[in-house]
Symmetry: C2
Subunit: 195 residues, 2 copies
DNA sequence: TGCTTTATGTACCATTTGATATAGAAAGGC
DNA sequence: GCCTTTCTATATCAAATGGTACATAAAGCA
């Protein structure tokens, strides 16, 4: 079977550009013209390669989690629970304030509040955020079992606390807070960690 | 001068309804039909009474700050810095999870990421959030002067920390977290407070 | 009772929205 | 060369968007 005319653009690269648009403007704030202009492809090319706007957004979510935000998840590999939290904060702050990206966390601001048609994406984003809370909780449960986290500490509560600080830092970053300011906030938050 | 035909609707009540729409769906997710239906007025009535969509949103911001969110600001009147923070968390959580309101904080999710036309509203929301950070900082500065907060504590950092937790709680609430869960998170956050 | 003023509701406006039809261009297989 | 296949670009679609004109209705004032 013949292969036809080859694509003139790189799909991953175009997806990266789309992600940045969604990241900065949110799903509803990202118009097709804004997307196609940033992606440097025509509208039919976008639809041929990514389906439609919603499908493009879903692919952008995966791209974000596996790309820019991957470092955060890999922080779970640290040796102790406290080291995990320190590394999560540190890595997140770097991502949230990286000048190459829009400010803030895509999973927070990509579709936090929206109309009915985008509501399924709002829930999808909440689900993705929750997946990280679950991963944190499981990591902390392991830490309790391994003895590097006090057994009276509730892993679920601690996981939600870390996620709360993380999402709060995202809002701060989105509002224009500097990296230093966020680092000081994270340092204060760490004082809440069980000794 | 004659007064003309009287309004058939209550302006404040209509504004309250508009606020709830913006609160739940965000600025860009709130269409004129959705607004007018919730406000129970016709489109020309909306424009006559509130100017346009942007102006209605700005009025909704004021309404939110002076109405539902007023309790949070009044927490600054507590006797000590720690009591202020406790009361801020407690009052916020009640607001964030009040079943009569949309979940989350309007100042966070009303226009966190949006297109160019709404960018001035995004900045306005950031400014409003920052006003609370400033108020917190000033309150903590006073607390240092009054001796109920350690003099080596940085009021600006602490204020930003409290705001960070607050905004993080908003995201959690918006994702469906229960009041109890948020209360436990706040309790953990309080452990970071200077002794 | 007019007359002025303001509010309401229908119908409409231009623009933008997300999404395609269609025609032409660029590759491989025969 | 020719055919098939796939991508690209222009031009377009119907629907939804924010915003108004215009006629009518309801009040106060003379």
């Amino acid at each position: 079977m013949s292969s036809g005319r080859p694509r003139e653009f790189n799909v991953e690269e175009a997806l990266d550009r789309a992600l940045k648009v969604f990241w900065r403007r949110g799903y509803e704030g990202s118009s097709l013209p804004a997307l196609t202009k940033a992606m440097r492809i025509s509208r039919p090319s976008l639809y041929a390669a990514f389906g439609n706007k919603e499908s493009l957004f879903r692919k952008a979510i995966d791209r974000y989690v596996e790309g820019p935000a991957a470092g955060i998840r890999s922080a779970l590999g640290e040796a102790t629970a406290r080291a995990v939290v320190e590394r999560v904060f540190c890595t997140s702050i770097e991502l949230l304030t990286d000048s190459r990206n829009p400010r803030g966390c895509f999973l927070v601001q990509g579709a936090l509040a929206c109309g009915d048609t985008a509501d399924c994406l709002r829930r999808e984003m909440a689900k993705r955020r929750d997946e990280f809370v679950v991963a944190l909780r499981e990591r902390f449960e392991r830490a309790v079992a391994e003895g590097d986290l006090a057994s009276n500490a509730d892993p679920a509560d601690l996981a939600r606390f870390v996620a709360t600080v993380l999402h709060g830092l995202s809002v701060q970053a989105s509002s224009g807070a500097s990296r230093r300011e966020l680092e000081r906030v994270a340092q204060i938050a760490l004082r809440a960690w069980p000794a």
